[in-house]
């Protein structure tokens, strides 16, 4: 039986600007299962990224609830949400989101130092994660000295260095060429193959298909779920 990792119930997100209320997410209810690779696709403005922000605790929903296992995360305070993001979640941002003052390995070390690991241990963990993502030869380069694909792989290494319970990715190939996009998607596939739960927003149907399930969003509502026929490695 599938184990539910994230349980979303009647999730609503509205944005208000003056008197105008924009309903971005409309009463979403669904589950994400342990070890699943869920792709979320939809046209621009459908609410994909907003959904990811709610799931990954970067934003608070207007109403509804999100449970991680038995823990309701919707009502957690800001310190608890930060601690949850640090210890249980990994996040791959659209534009790499690396810290420009830090080298590749230092970028990956940051969350592990925050988790309480000594610098030497954090460095070993970071090195292992970067080597896993095939950027082990770029440890001491600053982000500005890396290609887009390399930067995104460093970003993935930072997200997975602590083996998170859930890995969120927001259009990770949006700014990459085909070669780099393929490399990045290969990295995600490899992580999934080793049991990583992944929720990925993608604008490209082709890459969305590598997930186990595809959630089609339209105007803030779930249009349908589509099982993927992509073969796991």
């Amino acid at each position: 039986m599938k184990e539910t990792l994230i349980k979303v119930k009647h999730l609503v997100k509205n944005y208000q600007s003056g008197h105008i209320v924009t309903k971005v997410l409309k009463n979403l209810t669904f589950d994400v299962y342990k070890g699943e690779f869920l792709s979320v696709i939809g046209p621009s403005g459908s609410g994909k990224s907003t959904l990811l922000y709610q799931l990954s605790l970067l934003d608070r929903p207007t109403s509804g609830s999100i449970h991680y296992g038995k823990l309701c995360v919707t009502d957690l305070g800001s310190k608890e949400r930060t601690a949850l993001r640090l210890n249980y979640l990994g996040y791959v941002f659209q534009e790499y989101a690396l810290l420009p003052d830090l080298t590749a390995i230092e970028n990956v070390m940051v969350p592990n130092i925050m988790r309480g690991f000594g610098k030497a241990v954090a460095r070993e963990m970071a090195k292992a994660a970067l080597e896993k993502l095939n950027v082990g030869h770029r440890l001491d380069n600053l982000p500005g000295q890396l290609s887009g694909g390399e930067q995104q792989r460093v970003s993935i290494a930072r997200a997975i260095a602590h083996t998170p319970a859930i890995l969120f990715a927001d259009e990770p190939t949006a700014n990459l060429d085909t070669v780099n996009s393929d490399q990045v998607m290969d990295a995600f596939l490899d992580l999934h193959y080793h049991g990583q739960t992944i929720v990925m927003v993608n604008h490209e149907q082709e890459y969305a298909k590598i997930g186990d399930r595809i959630m089609h969003l339209l105007d803030g509502s779930i249009e349908r779920f589509e099982p993927s026929h992509h073969k796991k490695r």
Binding site: Y68, G69, K79, E80, T82, L86, N87, Y91, A97, A165
Partner: protein
């Protein structure tokens, strides 16, 4: 698989200070190492200038007064100054006091001076009756040159000729402010004009007049020294009241480390205070001096306060701009689970680092300038200005600057860091 544990999360939120500091140090060190050299130099320069403003301006203003006090003590009053009561013109019981002083272990040297008001005139005082007389009224001091040198070292302040010797029965040393060529004021009366070394002058006390030859000119910025004339004590007594051996004033040097105030109190306890005014050097300078000292200290504090304000605003602006331009990265740090406190500490550590470098360089400059000013004092009209800096003064002012920098670094960082995480990441 990791289980989501609410209690552990709350515990984590409160027990992470050491981790916050460790990561903050990690981030701050790298931010400083990889910061723009120009920006770093600008911030450090501002901190150095603030330190100099706090220590140098204050040190010069206070040093100006201290220099004045030191000169007064070393060239006029000694550590202790005994003068007549306001209703008398001599120090009562001088012999008894002198006898006590000679046996006092704290006293190293004594100069007993006789003083009298008189007139000094050039010879001749005027060529014809229409001329303004070339004369001045002043205090004539009769002293023992050797004793005087042991207290005030006036011999080292001679700028022309030489100091008195015990055989100079006809010699007189004039203070520089009695002579127009050494005291550039546009007056004709009350100052000696064109009187040079070797010239003859007459000294008159009432009906007694005697001729002396100018053997030396003593230079001082202290008025009681610069406006006096000096002859041997026995000559003065011969011209005035030769039977009254009570002194006009007594200047006393104490052993190094002796407490002048305690010494004065001890003397007063012996009831010498009933026949003479016994004061420390500072007390003898009068309340005006204390008021000037207080005023200068106030001015120094106002200038220092403005400097601190400027430094605080500068650090605030620089930290604010630094945080605003890195708002997105602050958002990302928060997004990946770095605590707000850790990010704030990182910014504060950067500001404090620049302050420490600035303070270090500024204090080093002060420590170099301090002995330089001692050897090359600033030539103020009424004092030789030295740099007055004390270890406690340096520590207090450096501490204040550090505290101000801490606050000025913390406030803008806090403001940016506490913003919405998602808005920061998305740049909206």
């Amino acid at each position: 698989m990791k289980t989501f544990d609410g209690k552990a999360l709350r515990k984590n939120g409160f027990l992470s200070l050491p981790r916050d500091i460790t990561l903050a140090l990690f981030l701050a060190i790298r931010a400083v190492k990889r910061a723009s050299l120009g920006t770093s130099l600008l911030i450090i320069s501002i901190q150095i200038l603030t330190v100099l403003n706090l220590l140098l301006v204050n040190g010069i203003l206070v040093g100006l007064i201290e220099g004045s006090e030191t000169t007064y003590r070393l060239s006029y009053s000694g550590d202790i100054f005994i003068s007549p009561l306001i209703t008398r013109d001599r120090v009562e019981n001088t012999e008894q006091i002198m006898n006590d002083l000679r046996h006092d272990p704290d006293v190293t040297s004594i100069s007993r001076r006789y003083t009298a008001s008189g007139f000094i005139a050039s010879v001749p005082a005027r060529s014809n009756l229409k001329d303004v007389p070339n004369e001045t009224g002043t205090t004539i001091v009769g002293l023992n040159p050797a004793n005087e040198n042991s207290v005030t070292k006036l011999d080292e302040q001679i700028i022309a000729g030489r100091w008195l010797e015990p055989t100079d029965t006809n010699g007189i040393v004039l203070g520089n402010r009695l002579l127009q060529q050494y005291f550039d004021v546009p007056i004709e009366r009350g100052i000696l004009r064109n009187v040079e070394l070797g010239d003859k002058v007459t000294v008159s006390f009432g009906t007694s007049t005697r001729e002396f030859r100018v053997i030396g000119i003593v230079f001082s910025k202290i008025d009681p020294v610069a406006r006096r004339a000096y002859i041997l004590d026995r000559q003065l007594l011969a011209l005035t009241d030769k039977f009254n051996l009570n002194a006009g004033e007594i200047a006393i040097s104490l052993q190094p480390g002796a407490d002048p105030e305690a010494w004065v109190n001890r003397m007063k306890a012996k009831h010498y205070g009933s026949g003479a005014s016994i004061k420390t050097a500072r007390e003898s300078m009068g309340s005006f001096f204390s008021e000037v000292t207080g005023t200068f200290a106030l001015i120094a504090n106002i200038i220092g306060g403005i400097a601190l304000l400027v430094a605080a605003v500068t650090v605030f602006i620089i930290t604010f701009i630094n945080a605003v331009t890195r708002r997105k990265f602050i958002g990302i740090l928060k997004g990946i689970g770095v605590t707000e406190r850790s990010i704030e500490i990182a910014y504060v550590l950067q500001a404090v680092f620049y302050a420490l470098v600035g303070i270090g360089v500024g204090v080093a400059m002060i420590l170099v300038l301090d002995p330089y000013f001692d050897k090359n004092p600033i030539d103020f009209p009424f004092s030789d200005g030295i740099l007055s800096v004390t270890t406690s003064g340096i520590l207090i002012r450096s501490g204040i600057l550090l505290a101000v920098t801490f606050i000025a670094g913390y406030l803008p960082a806090r403001r940016i860091v506490h913003g919405n995480t998602l808005d920061a990441i998305l740049g909206r």
